[in-house]
């Protein structure tokens, strides 16, 4: 039965009509469960699937292990799911996943992290995420504007906190920062040092305190995510620094970050619509399962969050 459904879904939209009466099974392999952002994405996907009659969703945790993730995809294929959604552990290891799904004739949707083979995906595979180039750019440009507005346009100094260095988002966001700081408008900002704090609040606290111990004057801390920005804020507060005199930026617009912004500590963050990505991936997977066409790259835009528009983000993420 499953096989006929599969054949039908790939063959024609006509057959897909009959299939709609049956339950669609979607297999999901998440890179890891204990990441805040990915949890919002995952829960968004699950909630939406549960609200749809006739959609079954099965979510697995790849525990940040590339090999485990590939096994999960093969297991999904073996149990005959109608479509697979993958949040890749390692964006450079997606070739094998694409191949495994292709051989089984099952549609595949990558979500949140851009696979290395994004430009050569077969017809029944797609990619749903936000364009990573936007996040670091929006963040850094806003900090640059704020520093100028504060009258520091003739020279400012910044620390940069990077995420895990093996992660594409960390590399891209750091590059965005550097690109913005190379522009004529923002090249007054000098980077004192850039180091990784592994996306973690605890590591960021320690790193910031280490930086503070050198006594270098600085005007801004630009972090690759909110957790690290909050860690930096906590360290600066502990050292008695007036948070109004320092620009701090992060990415993600987590609840904790929004609270820090409401307290006047965090100045800039960027909202990445996790639930929107989850919903987009699920929608694309269901369409592909029915044999319909979808755009191969679906971008959910990033949104800049500042104290001015803060209130409209409290209920999101």
């Amino acid at each position: 039965m499953k096989k006929t459904i599969l054949a039908a879904s790939l063959a024609s939209a006509l057959f897909a009509q009959t299939q709609a009466a049956n339950a669609e099974t979607i297999g999901v392999s998440m890179a890891l469960f204990d990441d805040n952002f990915l949890t919002v994405l995952r829960n968004g996907m699950i909630e939406q699937a549960e609200a749809m009659p006739g959609v079954d969703i099965q979510v697995e945790d790849a525990q940040n292990d590339v090999a485990r993730q590939l096994d999960q995809i093969k297991n999904f294929a073996a149990s005959g799911v109608d479509a697979i959604i993958v949040n890749p552990v390692d964006t450079s290891a997606t070739e094998a996943m694409t191949k495994a799904a292709q051989e089984a004739g099952i549609p595949l949707v990558y979500v949140n992290r851009q696979p290395i083979n994004v430009d050569s995906l077969p017809d029944n595979q797609a990619f749903v995420a936000s364009n990573e180039i936007e996040s670091g750019t929006l963040e850094t440009f806003e900090i640059c504007k704020n520093l100028r507005a504060a009258g520091k346009g003739d020279g400012a100094r910044a620390y940069v906190m990077m995420g895990e260095l093996s992660n594409q988002a960390a590399v891209q966001r750091t590059k965005d920062i550097e690109d913005i700081l190379a522009t004529d408008m923002c090249n007054f900002i000098e980077v004192i040092d850039k180091q990784t704090a592994m996306w973690s609040r605890d590591r960021a606290q320690d790193l910031m305190t280490n930086w503070l111990s050198s006594g270098e004057p600085f005007d801004a801390v630009i972090a690759n995510n909110d957790e690290m920005a909050i860690g930096a804020i906590q360290a600066m507060k502990a050292a008695g620094i007036d948070m109004a005199s320092v620009e701090v930026g992060g990415v993600d617009a987590t609840q904790d970050a929004l609270m820090a912004m409401a307290n006047g500590e965090l100045d800039v963050t960027v909202f990445q619509n996790a639930a929107g990505q989850g919903a987009g991936a699920l929608g694309a997977a269901l369409k592909l399962a029915k044999g319909e066409d979808v755009a191969q790259k679906v971008y959910i835009p990033f949104e800049l969050v500042t104290p001015a528009n803060l209130s409209s983000y409290f209920s999101k993420n």
């Binding site: 990441d35 995952r42 180091q195 320690d206 111990s213 906590q234 609840q255 904790d256 609270m259 307290n263």
Partner: protein, 357 residues
């Protein structure tokens, strides 16, 4: 009994044959490392590593750097106090990092405030009736979680006779799963002011120092300490001399779990949040601190003083590399090299001690 304490590999220890206490070597290594960073700092940065070269502090030292060197290793240091005892007893515990994760999650969910900036707590795990509780509730519940995990480790090692590596590996995986399951992976934030005080400022260092002194005395001057060294030196001999080995093992693993839980409470308080991924790899850092501090993986030998020095070496490396603005890659490579070096040195010392007899 007392003679058996501090024995080497089951052989009787004669203090007269040892030239220098082990801890002095480690202290020398620590000072050497600081000297290297001082030298590189003077050459490359034009700044002093530990001294106040730009007159920012009242004393001659760069107080901010001295503080962070200890602060950043205090929490893993507390776990290392437990690891030290377990390794001296001839065991190993791979679970504390995951126990930190689950304990932080559970404790923090009982430490939340009801209102944040006038809104209901956006990360509330329970309803308002379980928010704004006394700080003793999350502490007690957290310690119970850690004690249960430690007790189970000890039970599987001592009663079910599963090798400690495997038993605690199982706990490492299971406790991490429990940490993720507790709130379905959601972070738990916004604790009460009292809970936030526990890990505020330099408080983690104070807890670390108190626990280090406490367990130093316990290991050195009590029957508990004697039993721990005796079992690690020669388990059969310890059993024949009337020690209830099984019961003592359960006790030591339970204390290890309690210390991990205490570290979790301080960590979640310091960060004002609990996350399922907290504490990953902490067990390895803790074991490394103990090993660098001269605790022998063969059991029977080591001390809390050594482990504290090992922790300080870690702190100096982290701060030193940030001071020199070198990338984290090098830091990890050097850390790994030092761990291997410490074990090589330990084995060489053991062979030399054995041949001198």
């Amino acid at each position: 009994m007392a003679e058996m304490a501090h024995g080497t590999g089951g052989q009787k220890h004669d203090p007269n044959k040892r030239h220098l206490p082990n801890e002095l070597n480690i202290l020398a290594a620590l000072i050497l490392m600081v000297a290297v960073f001082e030298l590189l700092g003077a050459l490359l940065m034009g700044q002093s590593f530990l001294f106040d070269s730009s007159d920012r502090f009242d004393s001659i030292f760069n107080e901010a750097r001295l503080k962070i060197i200890i602060l950043q290793v205090s929490i893993t240091g507390i776990i290392a106090i437990g690891a030290t005892q377990i390794i001296i007893m001839g065991g190993i515990d791979l679970s504390p990092g995951s126990v930190v994760g689950v304990t932080a999650m559970v404790a923090m969910s009982f430490a939340q405030v009801a209102e944040v900036n006038g809104f209901p707590n956006p990360k509330g795990v329970f309803g308002p009736e379980l928010q704004d509780l006394s700080v003793f509730v999350p502490i007690a519940i957290g310690l119970i979680v850690g004690a249960i995990a430690g007790f189970l480790n000890g039970f599987f090692v001592a009663v079910a006779k599963i090798p400690p590596f495997i038993a605690t590996l199982g706990m490492m995986v299971a406790a991490r799963g429990a940490a993720k399951w507790w709130s379905k992976g959601q972070p738990i934030s916004f604790p009460t002011d009292e809970y936030a005080w526990i890990g505020d400022g330099m408080n983690p260092v104070i807890w670390f120092a108190c626990l280090a002194v406490l367990f130093h005395c316990i290991l050195k001057y009590t029957l508990y300490g004697n039993y721990t060294y005796a079992i690690g030196s020669n388990e059969d001999a310890a059993r024949m001399s009337g020690i209830n080995v099984g019961r003592h093992k359960i006790l030591v693993y339970t204390i290890g779990g309690l210390l991990a839980a205490f570290a979790a409470i301080i960590l979640s308080s310091k960060n004002l949040t609990a996350q399922a991924g907290m504490g990953v790899m902490y067990e390895l850092d803790a074991i490394a601190m103990a090993v660098i501090g001269g605790v022998s993986l063969a059991g029977g030998r080591g001390s809390i003083v050594g482990t504290v020095l090992g922790a300080l070496i870690f702190g100096v490396i982290i701060s030193g590399f940030t001071f020199l603005r070198l990338d984290a890659y090098y830091q990890e490579i050097v850390k790994g090299g030092i761990i291997i070096g410490a074990v090589v040195l330990d084995q060489w010392r053991q062979r030399r001690a054995a041949s001198r007899r």
